[in-house]
Assembly symmetry: C2
DNA sequence: GCAGAATTTGCAACATTATAACATTTGCAG
DNA sequence: CTGCAAATGTTATAATGTTGCAAATTCTGC
């Protein structure tokens, strides 16, 4: 498993970001999608933080870099990145996070630490199966699943809180 | 199962609303919580719609009834109702819906139809177990679960619009 | 290469959702 | 009745997200 899927553990984050960008370029090329400079920069900014970034956080960063950006700039880039499975929106936070399993078909499950703000994306087939069984029993046709768990990550409920 | 948990099936909605209000009064009395007129009216408005209502939808209704209401009026009532398990917030819709299992300890799972807008709240122990197993395996201490499934309800994927 | 089509971006205005801060009123215990 | 805590009223503002249109860029067929 790539180290970038494990924010609770130490890792070289620069490598993890550049790997995510490399993957994204490849995915977009395969799909004939245009990963333009703005889109790529937004993806990079989101990856540089393990904590989900709000659209206006991204906007502020772009602006401070001299990019002539307005809200639609950011929301359009985020829409593109979401459509291509490169970022996820965390509904309970109104924020965005890099997809740890870009290119794979998966149901993301997000563990959100209320103390440190870090988010871990998991894929769990038995959770996915249980959900599909439950929705299927209601004859509901599932299209998208939002599954976000708030709580305390291992680093924050043992010992002193970090960051 | 009480009929008010089954919006897809026909039922007497007035009865279902008044039952919800009766339950709410009892729950609040037991907890020594004050279900004031405004709070009760907000709860009733939310129950009268099977589709989740936005805070400003509630506000508009209160205003049209001559209630001198502002956004905090509604948000405070909604906070109270949420804290006492009488309504749920649907994060993916920024809207609120009556809790179909008020008073019971449960993990709500919401099936949201993108065609008709109705929402069905389910409780499924195997889903809950799978989620707790998955978070436990990461040593994550779960406090709250947001589980919202978007798709098509039985009434909307059979009949007229076949795909 | 080039013209036209399609996509992407810039930009201004606006819409929606939610909160802050502080004054006032109400309910209730002593 | 009095004083405190809870609830509400009121104004303003913050945070998040969208619409619409024009300009620029990129792609495509020729």
């Amino acid at each position: 498993m790539p180290s970038r899927a494990l924010p609770y553990r130490p890792h070289n984050h620069d490598d993890c970001v550049s790997q995510a960008l490399t993957d994204a370029r490849e995915i977009c090329q395969q799909k004939n999608a245009r990963l333009t400079p703005t889109r790529e920069r937004v993806l990079e900014l989101i990856w540089q933080s393990h904590k989900p970034l709000g659209a206006y956080d991204v906007l502020a960063e772009l602006t401070s870099e001299g990019h002539n950006a307005a809200p639609p700039t950011v929301y359009r880039a985020l829409d593109f990145l979401q459509q291509h499975g490169l970022v996820h929106r965390i509904a309970s936070l109104n924020a965005f996070t890099g997809c740890a399993h870009a290119g794979e078909h998966h149901t993301g499950m997000f563990l959100i630490c209320r103390a440190c703000g870090n988010v871990l994306e998991l894929t769990d087939t038995s959770v996915a199966k249980a959900i599909h069984d439950a929705t299927g029993a209601e004859a509901f046709r599932t299209e998208a699943i939002t599954l976000e768990v708030a709580g305390l990550c291992p680093g924050c409920h043992t010992g002193p809180h970090h960051e």
